[in-house]
Symmetry: C3
Subunit: 353 residues, 3 copies
């Protein structure tokens, strides 16, 4: 075994086999240190992840960790195996949060290859994987499908027959997993920072989140290292200096975190994420850019057997260097205002009156 095989250069398209199950490295015990750093890097203020007292008042044993932080930690583990040689992250679907994660839990990740399709140029192919994050009891905490365009190592390598999975464009409300054994009857709006509850939001309503957040290299890189995400484009300026952008790319997940944190102003009671239906990184974001965001309510759903909690389907759009009071978005289908960097479609849980 030579040094070059010991140091892993990542999987190429022809390395993925349909049905293959990949156990990702470095299960990670999440701690209060991760929570503090996440708050420090994003400014997140959603009450449930900030106050153990508020979490206990509704029935949690402790404050659950931010759903987006959990997503990033599990996602990060999948990067060395799935997307080190990715040309593009094409999409996410069917992401569901199954149960809370607490400080002290150990998160592990694995992926199953559920689709493969070589591109006509013979140089790249699309790989679909279902990635699952599990806790130390081997219980699923989150799972999703993502698909990435991956380089081939060898253009001449034989292509597998094309197989693309059928994916739901949106997680159906009846498939959302509301927190069990929890009752938001004792939720405090004064403490959550918003008097608006599920009942107060109307389908179609748009909310400008007002504030802007400038992101520095040290901030997005520290966040991304915290998740042990090893994608080179975020860290290696020596390499990035020779790309068309001339610089490091911000991890798209940090844009999601920043937009989600900004969305507190207008969605303070959106305490939990139930599912991510779809996400698109419309344009790259770089250090020095200021992120803004606005949201639209796409749908509302009551939850079976729950009077304390409802689900809102949101579309949050983030821009760079442009406030969102004019709600910049999709101009025609698939074509966005040039300031837009993120288009995220997701379900949140919000206390009802």
């Amino acid at each position: 075994m030579s040094g070059m095989t010991k140091a892993f250069a990542g999987n190429f398209f022809e390395d993925f086999k349909l049905g293959a199950h990949i156990v990702h490295a470095t299960p990670r015990t999440v701690t209060e240190g991760d929570r503090a750093l996440y708050i420090g890097l994003t400014g997140s203020r959603f009450l449930l992840g900030c106050s153990a007292q508020a979490a206990r008042a509704v029935g949690y044993a402790d404050a659950p960790l931010d759903d987006v932080l959990v997503f990033h930690l599990v996602f990060g583990k999948s990067v060395p195996d799935i997307s080190l040689n990715a040309v593009a992250n094409l999409g996410y679907a069917e992401c569901r949060f199954h149960r809370p994660v607490f400080a002290g839990d150990t998160l592990a990740a694995d992926s199953k290859v559920i689709g493969l399709r070589e591109n006509s140029n013979g140089e790249t192919g699309t790989v679909w994987v279902r990635t699952t994050g599990r806790n130390q009891q081997d219980e699923i905490v989150v799972d999703w499908v993502r698909w990435v365009m991956v380089n081939k190592r060898d253009k001449g390598a034989p292509a597998p027959g094309p197989s693309a999975p059928k994916l739901s464009p949106v997680v159906a409300p009846e498939h959302l997993i509301a927190p069990q054994g929890i009752d938001f009857a004792k939720w405090s709006d004064a403490h959550s920072g918003s008097a608006a509850r599920w009942d107060d939001y109307a389908v179609g309503e748009r909310i400008d989140h007002v504030d802007g957040m400038t992101v520095e290299e040290a901030e997005h890189a520290t966040a991304t290292r915290l998740y042990q995400n090893t994608a080179k484009v975020h860290f290696n300026q020596h390499l990035a200096g020779n790309t068309r952008f001339k610089r490091r790319l911000m991890y798209g997940g940090h844009v999601i975190s920043t937009a989600r944190a900004l969305s507190f102003n207008g969605l303070g009671n959106a305490v939990l994420i139930g599912a991510i239906n779809a996400g698109r990184h419309v344009a790259p974001c770089f250090a020095g850019d200021t992120v803004f965001a606005w949201s639209q309510v796409l749908d509302k759903a009551a939850l079976d057997g729950r009077k304390d909690l409802g689900a809102l389907r949101l579309r949050t759009i983030a821009t760079k260097n442009q406030p969102c009071d004019a709600f910049p978005g999709e101009i025609v289908s698939g074509k966005f205002d040039p300031a837009v960097i993120l288009d995220l479609d997701y379900w949140v849980f919000m206390p009802r009156r």
Copy 2:
């Protein structure tokens, strides 16, 4: 309810009513993660907040969190309600630390409006609030008065009758709250980093803290987000680029933290802050500036019934980009050396011989 009312743009002068009680959002469970990040961002070395072993030796159950960190966390909560539309932070008074905060405690904040005075231009007014931080047992951990100049939303809005509270220019030593059930007899100077105790400081004595600390955007912004302080001027370069400074302003509290951390060199045994009598941000500080500090002993007070601990009243002056060996300060009353950025008057507790 429209999206614009869901996203909160902050209170304007005419929104404040004398006697109003405002419960601030996002109680926050403080953790070892906050402590580590605070040390990482400030370099603080005061022993009591660093070593659980040293804290236990004098009677604490655990290492108390840094007083200035506690101040910032509570202050940050008050920002969205009190100072989002502030033109200027005019002053602090009567700040007292009532009891220690430990990892695991949840801090909540509320404010009472105790003074209002419209300015003659009809465009702004001064708001005085008493802000209180409480732990999960609803015990007061810190309180203070601050006053800010706040914009009016509508110049024509009727002004309340002027009412300014009477404030003590200095917290009287008998109002300081020394830590209860604690005995510094077993305090170790070797471990605290200073052989100088309360007995060794003379009123009038000046101490150059020697070292300088350069602060980067990522550092002050991460600290300020950690406190969930939402003042736009610290975060939004898109906005800040259009101000006369052309850039983000460092949170004045980060200057306080940095100066306090620097003051370790010369005041290593100033283990606890008892009170902040007054604080003035004399000039703005920006990323790239190097902060220096010096202190003068303004007063000394023995504490009733305590042979182990005394109080020192200090004036710490911080500068930017100028060492303090020449003790730059107030040239004539209210007019400072141009390098000065902070003038802080406070009481510390220090072990006695």
Copy 3:
């Protein structure tokens, strides 16, 4: 006692006495916050320090903290007393890790002066110290010898007779302290991220760690403050602007951390550091530089009575702004490729088949 004596300007060469024992300030309770911040700032992925579950599976009570983090914390404490007036850090030797450190442990440090030699110019001298880090039970967790060139305060001060300690060029394998009561039989390669075990490495083998990591001012300064290392050159741009480099110097220890984190790719099972034989900071590193690394296996040693674990002696070389696929290193003895910044010789423990 004047203010200038209260603020400590560091020891000069003539202040060190052979045989003197110096207790360093600020014992520090290490926490999950330190671990998270260390991961965030370095991207370290070695499993044992990331997963409490993996650590428990081999017999630890909890995940031990990263050895290099422990080194930095203890080293940082020694700086104010030993190297505040150092002109150069000349070397390390005989560094051994004695026992694991867990979150909640309190680390204290002390040093003994074991060698002194004035330089012929009469302006500086070399000081050798043995520095020891201890936990709250006063058990040794790490110790090492380092030597630094320190300024004299007064050129005319009398010089002590020269005395340089005899140091081992390498820690003998039989002096390595393998973790007690631990059995790596249940170690998971899938989780550790590497299928290569001790048995798979050959003496002489070279491994390019492939990835690069760009470091920003806010990152190295935050790491170095976390260790409460007070060396001015890392923090004070006002001072550094007047040096030949015109800027702050990155703490050499952050280069070690970065190189060690990069070495995961190729040495994923190098779960513990047993000893550091020698370390040389060949050239300075600055913010904006991208660090790369490669390693060579210098030696292999079985461990007495251990079938689960072996020792590998490694030489890890870090470069700036130059990938390591061509293994840039020592050109002739003591003369390095200009890209090289670090030459580190150390023992790691690695699970056996």
